[in-house]
Symmetry: C2
Subunit: 187 residues, 2 copies
């Protein structure tokens, strides 16, 4: 496996992923992660607020990308289509490395505490999208509903993508999911 990361945060992330996958999240201590990364537990907590956060490093980049997509959608675009643009960005961001996404997903699904953290990241994302829609003049509760609906599509499509062994086209899966949500909810 390539070691593209030289920084401390990256070394911690690598070490944590391997140990979490190998012996499970709960059975791994921060001291062990630090040792494997060649650093100390104290330094770990300087980089990450807690033992879970090490798996959720890139989440703010995803959020920023999606928010920007909503902002940059044509002024004439409806809330759903602005959300659709954000989903395209998300697909590009999340769809890069199927193998590592599968590994990470397996680790998270195996532990409720990690799942909790994943969910709050998604909730934060939804709030940010709703705010971006609000800037476009979409009133509440519509902005919140459209944003949350987008997150639902993202989650369902991502889960299907990551649970299939072959790396399908995530962007297509998201567009598909949105269309299915529209029809299933229509009546």
């Amino acid at each position: 496996m390539a070691r593209w990361e030289a920084g401390a945060a990256g070394r911690f992330r690598e070490a944590a992923m391997e140990l979490y996958a190998e012996r499970g999240y709960e059975q791994t201590t921060v001291a062990e992660i630090a040792e494997k990364a060649g650093l100390t537990a104290r330094t770990f907590f300087r980089h990450f607020t807690d033992k879970r956060e090490v798996l959720f490093a890139g989440s703010s980049d995803l959020r920023d990308g999606m928010v920007t997509a909503v902002r940059q959608a044509p002024a004439s675009a409806s809330p759903v289509s602005a959300v659709g643009e954000a989903l395209d960005v998300a697909a590009k961001f999340l769809g890069r490395d199927h193998a590592m996404s599968r590994r990470r997903h397996a680790i998270i699904m195996a532990n409720p505490e990690l799942l909790e953290r994943e969910l709050i990241k998604m909730a934060t994302l939804a709030t940010a999208l709703a705010a971006a829609l609000g800037e476009r003049g979409v009133p509440e509760p519509d902005a919140g509903l459209a944003a949350q609906a987008g997150i639902v599509v993202l989650q369902v499509a991502f889960r299907r993508w990551v649970e299939s062994e072959a790396p399908a086209d995530l962007a297509a899966g998201m567009r598909d999911g949105l269309a299915r949500l529209q029809t299933v909810i229509a009546r």
Copy 2:
């Protein structure tokens, strides 16, 4: 305030709510809750898996009620309308005590860890609803999408209800939210 609960779990719940509201969740130790309830910390952990869970006692009742509603919907009912029945049940369940809901909601919103727990309860609920829809013959990903969409409506409507000072009609708010989701997502 009436004390309808004599059992240990209820005493813990009361004590925890008061202390969390008074001095915050993090600043409250389990030992303090136990003392206030007239029991010990060890007993607390016999009733609740962790310090957060004490605030989420009734969540399985809500889940069971909503699942039953989906199961009992007429066989001819569409996925959305089965979900609508479940939302009616949820409104009845959650809409009982506006004042206490506000207190509880304020506590949860004030602490990210509690919010995480709330979110995982909602995710569990969504999974259960999706399974119930599956039993009715709704295929994936439609079942998952419809269930998650229902949870979105529940959350948005509940938040608006609990954040308004006057106790409005929660069931009406839910039906309203569902209708708005339908129109906002339609195009």
